[in-house]
């Protein structure tokens, strides 16, 4: 049994395993075992495994599944593979590298919650993943893992690939449901939560692609094995990544709770020659900066929060000494401003203001009160003041940048130019 289950069968230099090769390597054994259990037993297995959602929020997966009402009727499973968080490229590795793993996970998830239909919601632009997932689904139908009476049981499932029409908001789970219904991807008010009322008003489980990809391994090897993959409270492995001026940018599977230093220094090889480290966003664009004093932090949900940030997607973005932190912030906030869905006023009006202010600062046209404008938005767009987590997420890197790089912001104002250009 491998200690890197998610990537053990992924060989970047070749096409993904065919169905026969995947089966030969133990593929679909997790599904076969699941089908010998009751759906409730499958859910219990996943609950005991301590698997937590890999989409950013870390919600315990088995607990989420338990929220689906145990009554007959139409239910849905949606695999969230929207992956549009800047700095994030981990689900792509799984879907390009071993699509059957995610397909098998989706089937087991659907069995556990009693769904008859499942969708893989894939972001635009993942052309290779699209082709490979479509092929895996077709092969799974042909082999009887999908369709009517799967493997001779009473369980039937239709699994469809849905290509997103492109918008960051589609990744937020209730906005995703609106997108799947063909509407604008505005979020819905909660409650009701999707496990009770989701797609077309039916009970719906939305799980991240990496979350779902863990499920076949838990069923095949047992929940205890999964908890032992990590040394902390959250079981399993995690896909970590690094981008920016590091020596070897990439994505790696390591135990949940691996120290930040190990990912940065050993996996990413530290800084590229000629660049010095300043700070990093540990898990995509909507997490706050960490500095070198946080390098011993175990990368799990609880520890990163204690260190003052969030694990997020686990893919770090590294800021070097030759990149202007104000310019970087402008790039981040322009993204969020552009992707705001416009549903609530503080975000619709606030984010463009933040982006314009940063643009002016970066161009040398800033004034002292601009920093007050930015500080005010950090508070005004905090969690609870907006309809969804997009705007508070946007404020995480800004808030920490205003603290860490205050002197750099001020130099842009006093020198009336960007010191990096």
């Amino acid at each position: 049994m491998t200690d890197r289950p998610l990537t053990a069968l992924i060989k970047p230099e070749r096409a993904p395993l065919s169905l026969a090769e995947y089966e030969h390597a133990g593929g679909y054994a997790g599904l076969r075992r699941a089908l010998t259990l009751t759906p409730a037993e499958v859910t219990t297995e996943v609950t005991k495994s301590t698997l937590r959602g890999r989409g950013g929020a870390g919600f315990p997966t088995g607990n989420k599944w338990s929220l689906v009402p145990a009554v007959d009727g139409r239910k849905y499973v949606v695999v969230n593979a929207d992956e549009m968080e800047p700095g994030t490229m981990k689900d792509r590795l799984l879907l390009e590298g071993n699509p059957h793993q995610t397909v098998e996970g989706a089937i087991i998830t659907a069995y556990a919650v009693g769904a008859q239909t499942a969708y893989i919601f894939l972001r635009w632009g993942y052309q290779l993943a699209e082709a490979r997932v479509a092929q895996a689904i077709a092969d799974a139908y042909a082999a009887g893992y999908l369709g009517e009476r799967i493997l001779g049981t009473d369980f039937s499932l239709q699994l469809y690939l849905h290509m997103s029409a492109g918008r960051y908001m589609c990744g937020e789970e209730t906005a995703l449901l609106n997108a799947l219904e063909g509407k604008r991807a505005n979020p819905r008010s909660k409650p009701p939560f999707p496990p009770v009322s989701g797609l077309f008003g039916r009970p719906t489980i939305v799980n991240n692609a990496e979350t779902v990809s863990n499920v076949p391994h838990i069923l095949r090897n047992g929940w205890e094995w999964f908890t032992k993959l990590s040394s902390g409270a959250d079981g399993g492995t995690k896909l970590f990544g690094a981008s920016g001026r590091v020596r070897t940018p990439g994505v790696w599977e390591r135990p949940m709770g691996t120290p930040l230093r190990e990912i940065f220094a050993d996996c990413a090889g530290g800084m590229a020659p000629g660049y010095a480290f300043r700070a990093l966003l540990p898990g995509g664009a909507s997490t706050g900066f960490l500095t070198e004093d946080a390098f011993d932090t175990p990368l799990d949900f609880t520890s990163v929060e204690k260190a003052g940030s969030r694990l997020g997607t686990g893919t770090m973005i590294v800021l070097d000494d030759k990149t202007c932190p104000v310019g970087m912030q402008y790039s981040l906030q322009r993204f969020f401003a552009r992707e705001s869905c416009g549903w609530c006023t503080p975000c619709r009006e606030g984010l463009p203001w933040v982006a314009r202010t940063l643009e002016a600062l970066e161009a040398g046209d800033g004034e002292a009160r601009d920093l007050d404008v930015l500080d005010a938005h950090v508070h005004g767009l905090a969690m609870g003041n907006t309809f969804c987590a997009l705007a508070p997420g946007a404020m995480a890197p800004l808030e920490s940048a205003l603290k860490l790089f205050r002197a750099d912001f001020e130099r842009h104002i006093s020198e009336k130019r960007c010191p990096w250009t």
Binding site: P86, T88, G125, Q158, A165, R167, G182, A185, R202, G250
Partner: protein, 154 residues
């Protein structure tokens, strides 16, 4: 008018969802494949075919980034300007591309060959800086690399 083929494809999509109106974005993508963008008459055709109001289809068409409501060139370049690509040299590439093509962001070359758009993170950040040309991913870009890639397009 939607072609026979388009009607067929849209109907096939309708079978995958509990409610037919769910296929509006998919239908728009299908008609867009015809000439690379979605014209007003396409919006009306899709609305009529699906029994949804034109205003509704229009609001969906303008919401999603991949539906183009204005003509585009034969090849669409999406240059990532998000954070990892920004750090890895987006601005130099933008300068190179706009100078080489003689157009600004969001514009089409006079010969109709290229349209250049800024794009949000392409999920290829370990290969930053990156761009898509007609959906094909190119990473680890340099100005020289861009010249090589564009030499292959007519």
């Amino acid at each position: 008018m939607l072609t026979e083929h388009e009607q067929h494809e849209i109907r096939a999509q309708m079978a995958l969802y509990e409610q037919p109106a769910a296929v509006v974005p998919e239908a728009l993508k299908l008609v867009q494949a015809r000439r690379g963008w979605v014209a007003d008459e396409d919006v009306r055709d899709v609305a009529a075919f699906l029994g949804v109001s034109t205003a509704e289809v229009e609001s969906i068409a303008t919401f999603y980034s991949l539906i183009y409501r204005r003509p585009v060139g034969r090849h669409v370049i999406l240059l990532c300007d998000s954070v990892s690509c920004w750090i890895m040299g987006f601005r130099d590439l933008r300068a190179h591309l706009t100078a080489r093509l003689g157009i600004g962001m969001g514009e089409t070359t006079p010969d109709g060959r290229y349209t250049l758009f800024p794009a949000v993170c392409l999920g290829a950040c370990e290969l930053a800086p990156a761009m898509l040309v007609d959906g094909i991913l190119h990473g680890n870009l340099t100005p020289e690399r861009i010249d090589e890639i564009l030499a292959g397009y007519e």
